[in-house]
């Protein structure tokens, strides 16, 4: 059997294992979903009038929903991947991973199972939060089929990027609590991006912080695809961030994981 076939078969076994975990113990995933959903409802129903007034031009609450949802979908991914960091860290402290190391299997399949499983969970979470958004009357204004496709592609790519970073965070964390803390930037970064308010509305000294991070270009691109706003340079900045984070997370994770075999 070629090593590629072995890798594929082992990885699909590991993926089934991770999905089984998620199905058996959905509380972690569901808890993490609460954050974006609560924020969505809070900002729409409690702050919504004020926020839309701040947007000017006689915008109403539905305009703010439209503004908010693309960022929250990306935040959902960040939130889901915190769970990835926690479950990777949990897994590494379990004896079963040491057992995998003594078996004639493709070593990378352990990580592959986590990554694919996490991306699938992210997609499911995005669909769930998207459904809540649709229920409170989020509508894409004029997205074509191609733009929808691009939007999904961006979400999947973004999920892959954050997942690899989260896997690295999980691997370097000594326990699940530490992993949860180390992965907090994945929830924190969208709060200081252009998810909730335009960057122009932030204090001048803070604008670079909000601008030069992965969430803002991704949020702006998704907004452009779904709502027809200006995308500009974000159209290539967003995928560039994603690819860079994928590469960083991948090599980081591999070096930590393989380094375990000293």
């Amino acid at each position: 059997m070629s090593s590629l076939t072995l890798a594929a078969r082992n990885s699909s076994t590991m993926l089934r294992r991770n999905l089984l975990h998620a199905r058996r113990y959905p509380s972690l995933t569901l808890n993490l979903l609460l954050t974006p959903i609560m924020l969505l409802l809070l900002f729409v129903y409690v702050f919504g009038d004020t926020m839309s007034a701040g947007m000017g031009g006689g915008a109403d609450r539905s305009a703010y929903i439209a503004y908010l949802v693309p960022g929250l979908l990306l935040m959902t991914i960040g939130s889901t991947t915190v769970g990835t960091a926690v479950s990777v860290s949990n897994d590494m402290t379990e004896g079963i991973v040491a057992r995998f190391g003594t078996m004639p299997i493709h070593r990378g399949s352990v990580l592959a199972g986590h990554v694919v499983g996490s991306v699938l969970q992210s997609v499911a979470s995005v669909v769930l939060v998207g459904a809540v958004a649709a229920a409170i009357r989020f509508r894409s204004t004029d997205a074509t089929a191609l733009e929808w496709l691009a939007a999904f592609g961006l979400l999947a790519l973004f999920a892959t990027a954050l997942t690899w970073v989260a896997v690295g965070m999980g691997l370097v964390s000594p326990n699940a609590e530490a992993a949860g803390n180390n992965a907090l930037p994945l929830i924190f970064l969208p709060l200081i991006s252009s998810t909730f308010v335009p960057i122009d509305a932030m204090p001048g000294w803070f604008q670079p912080v909000a601008e030069y991070q992965p969430f803002t270009p991704a949020v702006e691109t998704l907004r452009g695809l779904l709502l027809g706003t200006e995308i500009g340079a974000n159209g290539w900045l967003a995928p560039a961030w994603c690819l860079a984070l994928c590469a960083l997370g991948y090599f980081w994770s591999r070096s930590v994981f393989d380094g375990g075999r000293k």
């Binding site: 059997m1 076994t13 294992r17 089984l20 079963i96 057992r99 190391g101 003594t102 078996m103 004639p104």
Partner: protein, 341 residues
């Protein structure tokens, strides 16, 4: 070929030098002609400044049970980790099931099964799912995998618990599931790292029975333990690991004879008989309050007979006679005197 390693520390605090000659390296092994299941020469491993293994030699015949005996921190687990390809040695070389660790790790992994000190089961899924996971990873076809899993679960008394999450299992059940998972791939060499640590007496005896049955199938078992009793029960050969070196190696009996500490304890009810015996056996250590004498001896038939003869000659009769053979403590205190200082 590595020679059997002898006690490296000389016993120099007035105790009798060990009467038994060092165990000869040519002592019989179950199948001397066959290629050894495990052989290692000069294994070394250090973590930073801390040397864990300082030149370990091993030669384990196929189809035998080998016990690596040692206290916590002696390097037992590190040895297992190296031989099971989990960590690489800093120096030395080793073959497991005929494959070189350094160049043929995959073939080694295909031939071994490892059950670690801490149970290596996935607690979030059921016992049956754990078994099927192993079958899948060994690329066993689905139907065959179910058959193997069901068979092993039955053999280890886990059929009833098969549908429950492994995290709900008792310590003994987890350990049995652990071994059952190890057997899914049909390993030829099985490493058991402290398989009974933390188990209650019944589970421990249960585990001993399981280990004995493993060998009947021609499998080689490499087990680590802190208990001489366990090595005594199970192992064909025992090596004592101390401070990263093999301090002694041999059959359990050879090992016990290597160390002083064996004695016969004589208890008397009357002070007259006690004094008579103390005079007849001047080498005995006296405990005047308890009226007991501790007479050094290895507990062999000949030593006992001569002791009884001397008591008869003196015309005294002990009310109670117990033979004390060395336990792990004795072995360790004897073999590690120098390093302890």
């Amino acid at each position: 070929m590595p020679s059997s390693v002898m006690p490296t520390s000389s016993h120099g605090d007035g105790a009798q030098p060990s009467p038994t000659a060092p165990v000869p390296s040519s002592s019989p092994s179950p199948s001397p002609s066959a290629a050894p299941a495990v052989s290692a020469v000069g294994l070394r491993k250090a973590y930073g400044d801390h040397t864990v293994l300082d030149g370990v030699d091993l030669r384990i015949p196929a189809g035998s049970v080998f016990a690596l005996l040692g206290p916590n921190g002696a390097g037992k687990t590190t040895t297992v980790q190296i031989l099971s390809t989990l960590v690489a040695a800093d120096g030395g070389q080793a073959q497991v099931a005929g494959h070189d660790l350094a160049t043929a790790g995959r073939q080694v992994r295909a031939a071994i099964g490892v059950t670690g000190q801490f149970s290596a089961v996935d607690g979030l899924i059921t016992g049956e799912e754990n078994m099927l996971l192993m079958a899948d990873l060994h690329l066993i076809p689905r139907r065959e995998g179910r058959r193997v899993a069901a068979g092993l679960l039955a053999r280890f008394g886990l059929t009833e618990a098969a549908k429950k999450p492994a995290s709900t299992y008792s310590g003994g059940m987890k350990r049995r599931l652990d071994i059952a998972m190890t057997l899914v791939g049909g390993p030829r060499v099985i490493f058991l790292d402290e398989p009974t640590t933390g188990l209650d007496p019944r589970s421990r005896h249960n585990m001993w029975q399981i280990i004995r049955e493993l060998v009947t199938g021609g499998v080689t078992v490499f087990l680590t333990t802190q208990y001489l009793e366990e090595a005594d029960e199970l192992a064909d050969r025992v090596a004592v690991l101390n401070d990263g070196r093999i301090a002694a190696e041999g059959t359990p009996d050879e090992l016990k004879r290597l160390v002083p500490g064996g004695h016969v304890r004589l208890r008397f009810t009357g002070p007259d008989a006690y004094r008579g015996a103390a005079t007849a056996l001047p080498e005995g250590a006296r405990d005047d309050e308890a009226l007991t004498l501790r007479v050094p001896g290895d507990g062999s038939q000949r030593a006992l007979r001569s002791l009884l003869d001397r008591l008869d000659t003196a015309g005294v009769e002990a009310d109670e006679l117990t033979v004390h053979t060395p336990d792990l403590d004795d072995v360790f205190f004897a073999l590690t005197k120098e390093t302890a200082r």
